[in-house]
Structures are given as C-alpha cells and as structure tokens.
C-alpha cells in the first residue's frame, strides 16, 4: 500500500439522492432491465444475430454512473454495453434494430450489439476487444483536457479487463496526462466463464490503481445512490483538473456470459444470494419507505411496453441493401 494512501481516497457525498432523482434512476434501470429481457427473448426467437451479452443485475452501475454525466461527456463501454448506452441517452428503438441487423439500427446494421456507438451522445463505442475501450477513453479525455470545456470521459470495463495490457497502459497514460477520465471497473464476479474470486494474486483491484497513483474506491455497485455519489465525486474532481480516478463497482452478473450460455461454471447458490440484493428492488424499497409504493412495478411495466414497441418496429424495419456492403469502409 502506498504511504500516501490517505490522499488517494475519494470522498463521495454522504447524502442519499433525493426521491425525484432516485425515481429517475429507477426509470433508467427499469428500461435497461426491460431492454435486456427483450434481447434474451429475441435472441431465443432468432431475431438477434451473432453474440449478445446482457447486463441484468448490473443496472445500478450504468444508471448511477451515466446519471451524473452531461450529454457531451464521453463514455467507452464493453461487449456488455447496452445498459451504459441506454443510460447515456441512446434510443432503445434503433439499438434494438441494430441488434436485429436492420438498416434503421444505431449503426445501420454494420456493428451489432458489441459495436453500439453514438458520437452525438459521446458514446465512443461498445467494444468487442476486452480492455480496448480504456485507452480510447483516456484519449477522449486528453482531447477534453485540450478543449478545457470541462468534459470528462468514463471508461466502463469488467474486472476481467484489469489483467490486460490496454488497461495498464491506459492507467499509465491517464496519470501521465492527468486526463479527466474515470475508470469504472464493473466487478460482476465473472470474467466470461471464470469466477473472479481468486483469479488474481496480491491484494484487491484498488491497490492496482493506487500503485499507479490513481485515487481508488470500492463501491456497492447495486446501490444506485452510492454509485452516483462516488461517480459524482470522481467526475467533479476530474472536471476540476485533478486527474483520473478508479472506482470498483461490486455487482453481479445474473445471466450467463452470453445469451445461450449453459453456465456450468456458476457457483452454486451465489445467484440466489445476489437476487436478494437486486438493484431495482432496493430502490423500490427505499421509495416505498418514503411513502411511494409500487414505483418499480409501474416503471417496469412502462419500460416493457416501450421495448415491445422497439421490437415491433425493429422487426418491421428493412435489412441493409446487400449492394451497400462497401459503404462506410472509409479507406
């Protein structure tokens, strides 16, 4: 542990979000949950092609993190990025159409689930290469630092990515450049098929970040209020020119690595334990305690209708013309 460890702490605001904000975050989480439920269903129906990875159980990380960002802040995300894109403001209808390979998709059917991106919302892409989004976010933050308009970049990645070179090189550069970037390590307990417990030697992930001189904090990732408070502290600090921060979000991947995963590796009883810590139910309980009953149920119902409409429209949308296969190559 570095001697300056005390200086490396991030002090999130302790006050919980107000009921209005909580309700808004709950709406985001409900939309992510409903989107992912539909993705699973549509994959089984054969409407989603290729590989698809869902984020049920991890909605609070996306909603709480992106909730503090402005429209022109940047994010990079992963192969499991639907939630981050939705939380950053992406429209689920073209997203669903993209997963269906349609011309009306976010990327006109050229990218698919793993390559969702919308530059107009600062979404610099999901990514099919584990860890690749980390240095990309650092580069966006470098550009933001040059512009001095207070923009920040958030890099979402899993705890499986902290072993790859891109993560470490990204950390090194973020420190060297004091780039306004916040590293959000979503520890969902599984790196693809491999339980992360015991997957690395030495102390935890925070110490890795601290070793690079990056302030680091572990956060209850299923508590959207705590996520938001931590990210807000880190983002404010980055906007103010204080450089990068690292947040480990403890959460849990309720589904398989990909849709259709038989999950022979799943630790017995673990999923049931984490179901007790469902991020949506947690906010619902908080709101109920404040006198607002049945909010989650209503928001989920609303979101499910929205996603059913997205599916209907995606199914009706045309596929790209085969003649257009060379479009967008660029060089």
């Amino acid at each position: 542990m570095p001697a300056e460890d005390e200086d490396l702490k991030i002090e999130p605001a302790s006050a919980p979000p107000d009921p209005e904000t909580l309700r808004e975050r709950l709406r985001t989480m409900a939309r992510i949950r409903a989107f992912e439920e539909q993705v699973g269903r549509q994959f089984r129906e054969g409407n989603v092609h290729g590989f698809v990875h869902t984020s049920i159980g991890q909605e609070a990380v996306a909603a709480g993190s992106c909730g503090v960002l402005d429209r022109d802040d940047f994010i990079t995300t992963t192969h499991r990025g639907h939630g981050h894109c939705l939380a950053k403001g992406a429209d689920p209808e073209p997203m669903m159409a993209e997963l269906f390979g349609r011309e009306t998709g976010t990327c006109h059917g050229r990218g698919g689930s793993m390559h969702l991106a919308d530059a107009s919302l600062g979404i610099l892409g999901a990514n099919g290469i584990v860890g690749a989004g980390v240095p990309i976010a650092v580069g966006a933050a470098l550009a933001a630092r040059r512009e001095q308009a207070g923009r920040v970049a958030l890099a979402f990645f899993g705890e499986g990515a902290v072993h790859c070179g891109a993560f470490h090189e990204g950390m090194v550069l973020a420190v060297a450049w004091q780039a306004p970037v916040v590293f959000i390590c979503e520890n969902n307990h599984y790196a693809e098929f491999t339980p992360s417990t015991g997957a690395w030697g030495g102390p935890g992930l925070l110490e890795r970040a601290s070793a690079y001189g990056v302030p680091a904090l572990r956060v209850e990732g299923n508590d959207v209020g705590k996520v938001e408070a931590a990210v807000r502290a880190a983002v404010n600090s980055a906007r103010a020119g204080a450089g990068p921060a690292f947040l480990e979000m403890l959460t849990y991947r309720m589904g398989g690595h990909y849709e259709g995963d038989a999950e022979p590796y799943r630790v017995e009883g673990e999923r049931e334990e984490w179901a007790e810590r469902d991020p949506i139910a947690a906010v619902d309980a908080t709101l109920a305690a404040a006198g607002q009953d049945g909010v989650a149920k209503a928001l989920l119902e609303e979101a499910r209708q929205e996603m059913e409409a997205a599916v209907r429209n995606a199914l009706a949308a045309p596929y790209p013309e085969p003649e257009a296969v060379m479009e967008y190559v660029g060089a």
Binding site: F74, T76, G105, T106, C107, H108, G109, R110, G111, H115, A117, D118, A119, L124, G125, N127, G128, I129, A132, V134, P135, I136, A137, V138, G139, A140, A141, L142, A143, A144, R146, E147, A153, G165, A166, H168, E169, G170, V172, L173, A176, W177, E327, Y328, V329, G330, A331
Partner: protein, 329 residues
C-alpha cells in the same frame, strides 16, 4: 513547405516530413503529435525536431513506452475531435499495438455505420540494411494494406513525403504513413514537381521493355539497377500508396511492355507482390510475353551481420538480375 529558393539545398526527406507536420499543425489547431521521444528529444531520427519548441507539450506529446495505450488513446482523441499523428518508432513495433490500428481505427467508421470518423495518422519508419536486427528492420506494409479501412502511404522521396503526409493528416480516415530511414538524408531532386494525390502512381521512367512496379526505398534501388543496364528501357512505376492502389496505371503500362517485375523490400512470402501480380494477371494476362516476376527479401528474419543482411535484402544488383530474368521469361 520549405521554400526551395530560400536555401541553396533542396530539403531532405526528413525535412519534408518535419515541414508537413509543422505546416499542418500551424494550419489546424486540432492536429496533435504523440509518441515515444518525439517531443523534447526531437524523435529517434530527428524528424520532429523543433515541433515541441514551436507547439508546446500540449500538442507535441512525449509518451511513455506504451504503444498500445498511446495508439488507443489516439483513436479516442480522434473520435473526440482531434487529428492525432501518432508515431510508432519502428515499424516492427506495430505488432505490439495492432489492436488500436486493426480492430479499432480501421473499423470504427464501418462498425458505427458512419457514426464516427477517425482522422488519424500512424507514422512509422522502416528500412533494412543498417544492421538493425530482426526486430528493427521489417517492412510490414503488406500486413497493414491487407486491412480494409486503412490507407497505407510509402513515399520514396522528399516531395512525396511532404505531399502524402499533408494528405494523410487532412484525411478523415486512418492512414499508416511508412517512412524509410535510409531515405531520411536524401535531398529532393525535383522538389517543384506537381503534387499527386494518394492513389496515383508516378511514372518515374519510361521504357518499352518491361514494367517495374515498386515503392519506398526500392524506387532509388531500381533506378540504380536500370542505370547499370543501359540497354534496358523500363517503365518504372512508383506506387507511392499501397492503399489506395493505382491498378490502372500498372495494368496500362504492362499492356504496353508485355513484361512485369514487382520489387519490394518486404519478404516475398505472402507479401504485397502477390497481390500486385494477381492484379496484373487479371488486367493484362493476354498482353504478357512472359511470367510476371517479383523480387523481394528472402523469407528469413532480418539478419544482423552486414553480409547476411545484404544477402537477404533486395538491392540494385539483385534487381538487375531480376530484370534479366523477367526479360528472358
């Protein structure tokens, strides 16, 4: 651009690269340069000298030795509105940072259906023949040209180095810009030549006996080979850019000469010569008077010892022998 009237000597190849960077950085505030040792140190070969002093640490960025991270960051900066020129000190080192080049920069515009553009230049240099050893001497442009979404420019002289680097920086797509360090000290002859865009080959010499197709340092080597063969008249085509590839100029020439030799510094095995020969066969097969040949490096890692390296790399003498074989075939 260096003013040729302002100095007694025309600019060297490395001056031209430096001038293109400086001119574009003056013209466009979003152009930034980043790479290992390029700032205060002026670059491993002095190519970026003076840029740090003129444009400052904010735009001429010395990076840690973390090429994959640096190139990834360049991709992010490009999507976020900058025009990064990222240097990979030796072309061999692109193998430690292929992901940002091949999986990210080359594909992002396509994968996003045109949603993002990646205006980025990957500058690098190669050049065997100086005992750099197997990890500092390779010509890997064929690997890069294989990837849809990447342009690959390989200037053979100072004028093209300037024109092509300016074009690369202004392009809205990724360009791999391959310099040759053995050309760095060569002064331009014909600096006031008309600028050609990428994708246009240049006919360096004209002649009816055969067509020689080449690029980079093999252009002057081929000129030397032809100078030693006064009885041979060849069309010598400098491709200048492998992607885009000027197939028309090559095919049109081979239809006239009936014979074709492709020369490159890269090893022959699965090298760019194979692609070129295929294009010539498709476009000019029935005009050929003999087999299309290629002459490149032998399929071995680049050796260190000077005699071994000379035996491995193509040179003017070897090109001369290959010309003779092409004419006999």
């Amino acid at each position: 651009m260096p003013d040729p009237t302002a100095t007694a000597k025309p600019p060297r190849y490395l001056d031209a690269v430096n001038a293109a960077l400086a001119d574009e950085m003056r013209a466009d505030g979003s152009v930034i340069a980043l790479g290992v040792d390029i700032g205060r140190g002026g670059g491993a070969y002095g190519v970026t000298r003076g840029l740090f002093e003129e444009f400052g640490a904010d735009r001429v960025i010395d990076t840690p030795i973390a090429e994959a991270g640096v190139l990834g960051a360049a991709v992010g900066a490009a999507m976020a509105g900058q025009r990064p020129v990222a240097e990979v000190m030796y072309m061999d080192f692109v193998t430690v940072c292929l992901d940002p080049i091949v999986n990210q920069a080359a594909k992002l515009r396509y994968m996003t259906g045109g949603g993002v553009t990646v205006p980025i230049v990957f500058r690098t240099q190669t050049g065997g023949g100086r005992s750099g050893g197997a990890q500092h001497s390779q010509s890997l442009e064929g690997i890069l040209a294989h990837i849809p979404g990447l342009d690959v420019y390989c200037p053979s002289d100072a004028r093209d180095a300037y024109d092509l680097l300016v074009a690369a920086i202004r392009a809205d797509h990724p360009v791999c810009f391959v310099e040759n360090r053995r050309l760095y000290g060569k002064r331009a002859d014909g600096w006031e030549r008309e600028a050609l865009p990428p994708g246009r080959a240049r006919l360096v010499r004209e002649g009816a006996d055969l067509t020689i197709v080449t690029w980079g340092r093999m252009v002057p080597e081929s000129i030397a080979a032809l100078d030693a063969l006064p009885d041979v008249a060849a069309d010598l085509i400098d491709l200048r850019t492998l992607a885009p590839l000027d197939v028309d100029t090559v095919v049109e020439s081979v239809r006239r000469t009936g014979r074709c030799l492709v020369v490159h510094e890269a090893v022959e095995r699965f090298g760019p010569g194979g692609e070129l020969i295929s294009k010539v066969a498709e476009g000019a097969l029935f005009d050929l008077d003999g087999p299309i040949l290629r002459h490149g490096a032998r399929p071995t890692p680049v050796p260190y010892s000077p005699g071994l390296e000379a035996a491995m790399l193509p040179d003017s003498e070897g090109i001369g022998a290959a010309i003779a074989r092409t004419l006999e075939g």
